[in-house]
Symmetry: C2
Subunit: 597 residues, 2 copies
């Protein structure tokens, strides 16, 4: 053992601090090549930049560079939540089954809820969210309306046993989430906190320098009434979100109402006639042959009805050029999304044909049609027999008008549901979701407080989530180029990289690089010095891949004139800077670009 009475603590600190953020003493772990089955760009770049590594499907270790970013996301979220008066707590990941049974989600949640037993054969779950735990906690701690409203949050690991974990940390099984839960005695109070959270989430994403939109959304398995999703805009987003060209209207495409114009159905012009093709003939060919536009056809989908329904199957019909909304249809059918479509085997068994040939005429199951289908006339559909189609179908002449509902996803150019302007569609990555839960959990778990009259009043709840790990991936999806990641100033793992040229053969370069490093460090700037014995090209490529916003190149060729070279990662601008002016220059660059994308 070294005698530490001789090695003073400050001396040790000195040794280690100096070598701390030098690449030689850091695990940079950049990769030139990665497996070709990595689908999305953020996943590719996070692997290549040495941010994450996969341990198993949907399970990732965060390497130093990735963790630096993750901690910055956490810090921004924590500060803004604190500013919004939310109180931080920390609840267990492992949760006992009994509270999930009380809320009924033990059954409802489905197989994404990982259930297991401990050594004593007691049942537990790995928490995918914490509504049950916080409600159980609060009903024991809070007894009077006077203590409310309160809003609690935590930043904690969650687990969802995804059927198909994919896209790296975008849809992993274990992930970090900031989840908050607010408690109220009336709806007005909930609305105020909900609005504060809406604003807080906007502040958080603004501070991160991300382009985002908040949209009306479905409440899904969490429950409740009102909810908004926060989407980081990115061409690769899994979700489609719609906006009005002329108002503040914004919603998830699954939820946006299709305001189909209530126009009168045109009178029939054609007779209904059966076309018998050979089996190989596709609908497309029929349409071509008879010059029928796709808007004059319908798609008929067979889905499983809710339990104990009279008919096990139902037919949902939308126009040929439209897409069904799972969320809208599931609500109408009173089943959980996503929809459960009948298989080809079942269709063959029940209807004696393929799904392609299913149509509404003489179909022996209940039918629901989209509003836009209700106004069609002289349309084409399958005839429920192999190779056969009906042309010139008309409602109320050839078959009764079935139940009509809003079933489809809106399309670009549709009227905005608020009547103002038309809809645009963009792709987004959902990073946040806020809900007005109402009394779903407090009713089930008997969470009451005494009101002004001393009577029991069921708590009204809100809940508010941000995917901490997912934000990192979403930021990359929005901010990258062909060289790598383009970090915004507030999320960059390091704001400045020092690249010394030929430092291992030039004492001057080594000395100046170290001096600049210490100067920047002393001003609180996150800086990394690349002191590896690598060619300048390798160092450049690595720092650009990792996405460090500001690069400082130090070499004898410039030091001779007392200068160094600066390069901006995002716009590629280069500049020669005097040695003495570096810190001020960097601080000014950081300040002007701070919230910019």
């Amino acid at each position: 053992m070294i005698n530490f009475t001789e090695l003073s603590r400050s001396y040790l600190n000195l040794i280690w601090k100096i070598i701390n953020m030098h690449t030689s003493q850091y695990m940079l772990s950049t990769l030139k090549e990665i497996s070709t089955d990595v689908e999305v760009i953020s996943h590719q770049l996070m692997l290549r930049a040495g941010m994450i590594r996969q341990l198993a499907s949907g399970l990732y270790s965060w390497l130093p560079t990735g963790l630096q970013v993750l901690r910055k996301v956490e810090k921004i979220v924590r500060e803004e939540m604190n500013n919004a008066g939310a109180i931080e707590v920390f609840m267990p990941i492992v949760q006992p089954a009994d509270i999930w049974q009380k809320s009924k989600r033990w059954v409802q949640y489905g197989s994404e809820l990982l259930r297991f037993i401990d050594r004593g054969a007691r049942s537990f779950v790995l928490g995918p969210t914490h509504e049950e735990v916080i409600t159980d906690l609060i009903r024991n701690e809070i007894c009077s309306y006077k203590q409310l409203p309160l809003n609690f949050y935590q930043i904690q690991t969650k687990f969802r046993d995804e059927l198909r974990p994919r896209f790296g940390v975008m849809r992993s099984r274990e992930f970090l989430m900031k989840d908050a839960y607010s408690f109220h005695t009336n709806q007005d109070s909930l609305q105020i906190t909900y609005d504060v959270m809406y604003q807080t989430y906007s502040n958080i994403l603004n501070r991160m320098g991300l382009q985002f939109r908040a949209v009306q959304a479905d409440t899904g398995s969490i429950g409740g009434s009102v909810s908004h999703e926060f989407h980081v805009l990115a061409d690769s987003g899994e979700d489609y979100i719609v906006f009005s060209t002329s108002s503040n209207y914004a919603a998830n495409i699954e939820l946006a109402e299709a305001k189909d114009q209530v126009i009168l159905r045109a009178d029939p012009k054609e007779k209904m006639r059966l076309v018998d093709t050979n089996e190989a003939c596709t609908l497309a060919k029929i349409l071509e042959k008879f010059a029928i536009p796709v808007e004059k056809t319908v798609k008929t989908m067979l889905v499983r009805a809710k339990k104990n329904a009279i008919h096990p199957l139902l037919a949902l019909i939308v126009r040929g050029d439209h897409h069904i909304s799972d969320v809208k249809a599931a609500k109408i059918l009173q089943v959980a999304a996503p929809l459960n479509f009948a298989s080809e085997e079942e269709i063959r068994l029940f209807f004696g044909t393929r799904s392609d040939y299913i149509g509404p005429v003489n179909l022996q199951v209940p039918i629901i049609i989209d509003r836009s289908v209700a106004v069609m006339s002289d349309f084409t559909a399958g005839a429920n027999a192999d190779g056969k189609y009906f042309l010139g179908i008309n409602w109320e002449r050839d078959l009764p008008l079935p139940q009509v509902a809003d079933l489809r996803k809106v399309s670009a150019g549709d009227r905005s549901p608020d009547g103002k302007g038309t809809l645009q569609i963009k792709r987004g990555i959902e990073v946040g979701h806020i809900f007005q839960l109402g009394t779903k959990y407090s009713d089930a778990m008997k969470a009451y407080v005494q009101n002004e009259e001393g009577r029991n009043k069921t708590l009204i709840m809100g809940c508010y989530g941000i995917g901490i790990t997912r934000v990192v991936a979403a930021a990359i999806e929005q901010n990258h180029d062909d060289k790598g990641i383009l970090w915004t100033e507030s999320l960059a793992p390091f704001n400045v990289a020092i690249i010394p040229i030929n430092m291992h053969n030039s004492f001057r370069v080594q000395q100046i690089a170290e001096e600049v490093y210490q100067q920047l460090k002393a001003r609180g700037i996150d800086v990394i010095l690349d002191d590896r014995k690598e060619r300048p090209g390798v160092m450049f490529a690595d720092m650009e891949l990792i996405g460090i916003p500001h690069l400082l190149v130090i070499g004898d060729y410039n030091l001779n004139t007392g200068n160094i070279e600066y390069k901006n990662r995002r716009n590629g601008n280069k500049k020669i800077i005097k040695l003495g002016a570096i810190v001020d220059f960097i601080l000014s660059e950081m300040a002007t670009s701070f919230y910019k994308c």
Copy 2:
């Protein structure tokens, strides 16, 4: 929705910040009464002070006051680990079975390892430590000796399925741990990092203001050779640790060698004789009747031998006044600690008597005796028959001398194993443990790097753990009085509590309290203002229970003369302070008491 274009962000911040650390907008959650089955004082105080709540056996939610302390522990640990050049990473809690099978701990770890299957029937564990994950990670990232040494750490949730979770967060199932893992190509390099970690752990506990000792320890199920435990000293500690009066020697009692003086065994003076008592007669009565001191008796314990041993049972014998060391005995028997003692049923079956009457004479199993037993003469032991004892037994006359080993725990006053001085015994709570692992994991998991000659070299590892959540409980075990917790300055949830007297009827008190709060806050001091409508006695009791080091009492009775009253929580000293001098006074009190207990 409130129109946020009107409510500017800074205005919102202002509203919320002001109400932030006032008890009326905080969840204080102190309790007067708690369940009587809560055993240890830290657990009692953490419940009463509103720091934690139990969700289920061994699972705790951290309430705001507890989390404040936990975050301070984390911050100190993180800063000191960074200062020591360790690099932070973040690894999954859920770990696939295959890496545990590779290291063989899948079987070895026993039932504390929580194993489960996911929806695809693949096997996983909830990580109790991360040796496997980090070794798997590093063997893929590091390829050359030039990249080493490296030391990685994380602060992450662990899970151990304790048979009997108890003492609150002291022995919970889910807990936070700082675990670090270092990688080397030679023992000298490991020794340097090990020594740095030893010093870092000392720095961490010193900064927390805790009295502690580092002691030599057993390596247990983690494996490896050298290890040290860090114990916070507390009368309630579960562990016994021993120190020399005259040297630096310190060890866990299970490990400390009993340096029994090698003196010649005295010649037999008595004849061996059988005493036949009635069954109800205890050993104590025999000793009394024949005036035999307890040092002249032996205790014989029957334990299960290792698998495939010729005899399934073994006898271990220590002197009547000594205690067997599980760890020492387990090493000699080559079994895992704790020892597996034969049951009374088994003893009756094999030997036809009770365990009380078992003794070495004519015992038909292998015997190992403690060194101090080997030098006994004319001693007393059971005669392996109900109610019968032998008196005056002598080795090598009445029975052969069996195998001799160091089996017992040392006693206070024993010679120090280093030959310098005698041993003292204290009780401690293990909060940290550092290990020289060697190649246990890197061998099993094929973690190699290329050495100077380009050949594969197995990595040499160290690992270093601190129980983040346990430190909080240990600090309380060491620092409390009959009123509640006595926080050290660096761990206190708040350093200052403002207690306004009759504030809801005195605008002046309210105004001054708020001003003092803002002044302290502006200087970065963690302060809480108790603005509840409670009697002064209730507020005092709560703040003393929670353990806030500095109390400021603001009331009209003192404001009339421009003063407030200060009370020091630890020493009870009171002082009248001028209004304008409060901040400086508090800063000076904090500075002088910062590292003090």
